[in-house]
Symmetry: C2
Subunit: 164 residues, 2 copies
DNA sequence: TATTGTTATACTCTATAACTATA
DNA sequence: TATAGTTATAGAGTATAACAATA
C-alpha cells in the first residue's frame, strides 16, 4: 500500500500539452485525500481481508461471525431483531441462517407466543465453534493493532462508538 | 442508530432457562464491541449512504467519483494504473469507464507508445461536471464532520492516512 | 512470455417487491 | 391492516479465468 501526500494540482503535468504518463506508485489522488469515506473504504477492505484470511481455516466471514455473536449473546432472538441490530436486510438474513443452520451452528425454533416468528439459538456445537471463532477474531484484532498502533486503534474505536 | 455499551455477558438472560426475548433496541453485541472491523463497517455504510444521497442529484456514486478524481488529477493515465491506484479490478474498471464514457465525462484515447493501452482524459464537460461533484462531495464531508466532530474527523484521517 | 483491455462467470451484498401465514 | 419469514429479482462490488492484440 502506498502513501500519498495531499496535493491540490496534478503532479508531473507536462507544460507542453504532451501526454504525460505516471507510474502507478506516484499517481496523485487530488481531492480524494481529505475524504473520510475514501480512507474508511480502503481500511475496511484491508480489515475484512485480514479477517477472512485469519478465519479462513474455519470458513467464517465477518457477517456470519456477527450473526453468531449476536445470537450467542441474545438467545431466543427473532430474525427481525437480529437483522435490525446488525443493519442487514431480513431477506438476506434468511440465506445467512440457512447456511449456518446447514452447518449445525444455529437452530430456528418456532416461537410459541408469536407463531410467525422463529427464536434463534446456537446449538451446542455452534457454541463451541463460536468460542474458537472468537479466539481467531481476537488474533485478527491483534493484526489490526499491529497495523494501526495500540493508541490509534483504541482512539478509532472511541470515535466510531456511536456506529456500533 | 442506537448506542450500545460494551458487555461481556448476555443481557437479561433468564436464570431458569426459559426463552428470553429482547427488544431490538437492547440487543447486546457481546464480542462485536471491541472489533474495529465492525465499527468501521457500520461507519462505512453510513458514510456511503450519505455520499450517495448528497450526490444523488448528479447520480454519482463513490467509486465513480474516485475514478473521475484520479483521472482529473492525472490525465493520460492507463486503465491499469487507475485500477491499481484505486484498488479495483481492471475488469470492473472497464464497465465503470463504459458508463462514464457514455455520459461523455471521460475519453479513452489509444496510446501511441503502447498500442495495447488507453490513455484516459476528462472531456471538457467532464471536467466541469467534476467541479460540481467536488462541491457536493465537500458538502458531504461537512456532514461527516457534523456527525463525528471536527477533531475526531481529523484524527480519523490521520489514523487511516496509510490506507489512502 | 508477459501485459492491456476485454468478456464472461460466480459469488457476496444491497435494495426491492411480492407472497404466506399469522397477528 | 400490519408484521415475520420467505422467495425472487436487479444492481453494485469482488474474484477469477480466458481471450485477442500487443509488447
Amino acid at each position: 500500500m502506498t502513501t500519498c501526500a495531499a496535493q491540490t494540482s496534478p503532479r508531473k503535468r507536462a507544460g507542453n500539452g504532451a501526454v504525460q504518463r505516471n507510474d502507478a506508485d506516484e499517481v496523485g489522488l487530488d481531492a480524494l485525500v481529505g475524504h473520510a469515506g475514501y480512507a474508511v473504504r480502503r481500511f475496511q477492505i484491508w480489515i475484512f481481508q485480514d479477517f477472512i484470511k485469519t478465519l479462513g481455516e474455519v470458513d467464517i466471514r465477518p457477517t456470519q461471525y456477527s450473526v453468531l455473536t449476536v445470537i450467542g449473546a441474545n438467545p431466543g432472538l427473532s430474525q427481525m431483531a437480529v437483522a435490525k441490530r446488525l443493519g442487514i436486510e431480513r431477506a438476506r438474513l434468511v440465506h445467512l441462517l440457512d447456511s449456518l443452520e446447514q452447518r449445525r451452528y444455529v437452530k430456528r425454533i418456532k416461537s410459541k407466543t408469536d407463531r410467525r416468528s422463529h427464536a434463534l439459538y446456537l446449538t451446542a456445537p455452534g457454541a463451541a465453534a463460536l468460542s474458537k471463532f472468537k479466539r481467531l477474531a481476537a488474533e485478527h484484532e491483534r493484526h489490526v493493532e499491529a497495523k494501526l498502533g495500540r493508541e490509534n486503534r483504541q482512539h478509532l474505536l472511541r470515535i466510531l462508538a456511536d456506529f456500533t
